[in-house]
């Protein structure tokens, strides 16, 4: 018998992936993955396409058999359980709605397979939840993309799974609808309290929706944490570049001074808290987010670390902020965002500026990594 997801017979628990690996022939799609998804959380699995997100979800759903490793749900090992014996449901990439069944029958499908006789009420409730009450008699082909998306959601949610897997559920929608659905999904999750594992390659989507994000790259999890943690303290150059933008300055660590590290950044001596560093000696990448860079007039005395003088080479005015591209004395181009508070006149290309940042906002990464990792990946931000 399938574990009865309706009465919730097994106690809901965390979803755990233990050394999960999937190889297709020689190719390793998911590599020794360890992950804990806390029960009831909105969890995002973020990564560029081809990094193994779908494969991971399919192993959780039971649609793909892991090469090695384990999938656990609470106390239960479900690694080898058939898909229909798991209290887990999926919203498929591009939905996979049954084209020959009406919206009503699509939504009722899971309940009927579990032997529920009376489905009218739960189906109606579910259709109301996704605001499709009057569409029950239609076929999927007669719905818009957003409506299809909601049918796919309703079809999975009605089974009250312990874990709902969503594989790029908003990928096929246009931007405006996507933003709207992000909010709806988030509120539905709050309402039902189910664990959501949301797969996406859109970092903005992941950050707006999720409690916890795991950033995946080439089959491994690079970093996991809250959106703010990931953004403020990336631990790899890939995360630094894939979530938002980063300026990475090659530097060398001179030594320690109390709680701070003293760093030689292209001739400029700067300080930052040691706990924000991934490395504590030798060469490193000094990372500063563009909005954390302060551009002052030459000679202006401001607090924080100085990276010396630079020349503005490009200015893009984007309304709420202005984006400056500056060339430093050692020839590197840095990006700096400045809020348009009106407090100060816009600068122009060719102007000389003084580049500063606060050490508490910087991060220090291992120099052995590619500084451009994740820069040109298809994050839709």
């Amino acid at each position: 018998m399938p574990a009865d997801p309706v009465s919730g017979a097994p106690p809901p628990g965390d979803l755990q992936l233990l050394s999960l690996t999937k190889r297709f022939g020689e190719f390793t799609a998911v590599d020794d993955l360890d992950l804990v998804v806390p029960a009831g959380s909105f969890f995002a699995l973020l990564g560029p396409s081809g990094c193994g997100k779908t494969t991971t979800l399919r192993m959780v759903a039971g649609l793909e058999v892991p090469t090695t490793g384990e999938v656990r749900l609470g106390e239960q090992d479900i690694t080898w359980a058939k898909p229909y014996k798991r209290p887990v449901n999926t919203v498929f990439q591009s939905y996979a709605l049954f084209p020959h069944l009406t919206v009503y029958e699509n939504v009722a499908f899971g309940l009927r397979r579990q032997g529920r006789k009376e489905v009218t009420e739960p189906v109606r409730d579910m259709l109301r939840l996704v605001e499709l009450e009057s569409f029950g008699a239609r076929k999927p082909a007669q719905l818009s993309g957003g409506q299809q998306q909601r049918v796919a959601l309703a079809r999975a949610l009605i089974n009250q799974p312990q874990v709902l897997l969503l594989d790029e559920p908003l990928g096929a929608l246009d931007l405006k609808l996507r933003r709207q659905m992000q909010i709806e999904l988030k509120s539905i999750q709050g309402e039902v309290g189910t664990t959501f594992v949301h797969v996406t390659h859109d970092q903005e989507e992941a950050m707006t929706m999720a409690d916890t994000i795991a950033v995946m790259h080439r089959g491994v999890i690079e970093q996991m944490g809250s959106p703010a943690e990931l953004y403020e303290s990336p631990r790899t150059t890939f995360v630094a570049n894939f979530l938002g933008q980063s300026n990475l300055v090659p530097c060398a660590i001179n030594g320690r001074d109390g709680g701070d590290l003293v760093i030689d950044a292209q001739g400029a001596l700067v300080r930052m808290p040691a706990e924000r560093a991934q490395v504590h000696q030798g060469k490193a990448w000094l990372g500063v987010r563009p909005e954390k860079i302060i551009l002052g007039s030459p000679g202006e005395d401001l607090p924080g670390n100085s990276l010396g003088e630079a020349r503005i080479v490009d200015v893009s005015f984007v309304g709420v902020s202005t984006q400056y591209l500056v060339r430093t004395s050692w020839g590197q181009e840095l990006m700096a965002f400045e809020q348009n508070t009106g407090a100060r006149p816009l600068m122009r290309a060719g102007d000389q500026v003084h580049v500063r940042f606060a050490g508490a906002h910087a991060f220090l990464l291992d120099h052995d990594q590619d500084a451009r990792a994740g820069v040109d990946e298809d994050s839709a931000a």
Binding site: M1, A3, S19, T21, V65, T67, T68, G69, E70, E75, Q76, D77, I78, T79, W80, A81, K82, K85
Partner: protein, 304 residues
């Protein structure tokens, strides 16, 4: 196949029936179970007969149904068969080639019209293409016999126009046989052409127009190359059955228009199995060779 190097954990609190703890067995045997009945049928009643046909073609030609046949590796059967029946062979292939070419010329505009110009009439036109199929092949061919008969209106018109002599006739000529072949196999040309034309993204043709190609150039450079798979499939589906046909030659032609199919049929009829088999094998080999060369040339191997 998945191998499980990592020892699957054995947890006591498994799903009740316990199958969650062990890797599933992939039943590759089920593929064979599905495949085998049909495959065996084809082996038994298509491949084995082909082998038997080759064997028969090498039997002692002096045998008969009553006395039985002896396997004497009589390669001479092939020499004799081609010696006696070279003419119907060549004629059959020539008729089929002409009929195939005619089908292409007639069928392409129809397929094009259905694919691109028919609009809401598309389905109706497709039904109309298939509809004549439902009247028996032989009944239709007999109708052609009537249409082309000596006192029919087609002959009358042709005489008035001076296309044929006053005592000339259409029935019992090569013309009638080719006309019958062309008619009967036309749908086999139109349908694959339609399928491949239908797949063409119409914007490609518009893009060609946008890039200053005339409609004719657009057709030659875009539509025609993209419909090549349909052309290849259509010509094969037309040529192969007509090369082996004997109904049209029998009903619409006479003894001077016999195709190789007629010869094979009549050799079998009189019990001259070795000769008939040798002719069949030769026909089969020629067709397979032509198909292979043709497909290779047209670069549409994926058709198979």
């Amino acid at each position: 196949m998945t191998s499980s190097a990592g020892a699957p954990s054995v947890a006591p609190e498994l799903a009740p029936d316990g199958d969650a703890s062990s890797p599933p067995r992939r039943r590759r045997s089920s593929a064979w179970f599905l495949l085998l009945p049909g495959a065996l049928w084809l082996v038994a009643f298509f491949l084995t007969p082909m082998v038997q046909l080759v064997a028969t073609s090498l039997y002692d030609p002096s045998g008969s149904e009553e006395t039985g046949y002896a396997m004497t590796w009589a390669w001479g059967n092939y020499v004799d068969a081609l010696d006696f029946y070279l003419e119907p062979f060549v004629r059959g292939f020539a008729y089929s080639a002409i009929a195939t070419a005619l089908c292409l010329v007639i069928g392409y505009p129809l397929a094009y019209a259905i694919a691109f110009k028919a609009g809401r009439w598309k389905n109706l036109m497709l039904v109309l293409v298939i509809a004549p199929f439902f009247t028996s092949f032989l009944v239709r061919t007999l109708a052609w016999k009537l249409i082309l008969s000596d006192n029919g209106f087609v002959v009358g018109i042709a005489k008035t126009l001076g296309l044929i002599a006053d005592d000339g006739r259409l029935l019992a000529t090569g013309f009638a046989v080719v006309a019958g072949l062309t008619y009967n196999f036309l749908p086999f040309m139109v349908l694959p052409l339609y399928v491949s034309l239908e797949k063409i993204d119409h914007r490609l043709i518009e893009a060609a127009g946008d890039l200053y190609s005339s409609p004719a150039q657009g057709f030659r450079k875009v539509t025609l190359p993209l419909s090549m798979p349909g052309v290849v499939a259509g010509t094969l589906l037309t040529f192969i059955p007509s090369a082996g046909d004997f109904i049209n030659a029998q009903l619409l032609g006479d003894t001077t228009t016999q195709m190789i199919g007629n010869v094979i049929e009549s050799r079998f009829e009189v019990g001259d199995y070795p000769a008939a088999a040798a002719l069949s094998v030769t026909l089969m080999v020629l067709i397979v060779a032509m198909v292979a060369i043709y497909i290779r040339r047209a670069g549409t191997e994926e058709l198979l």
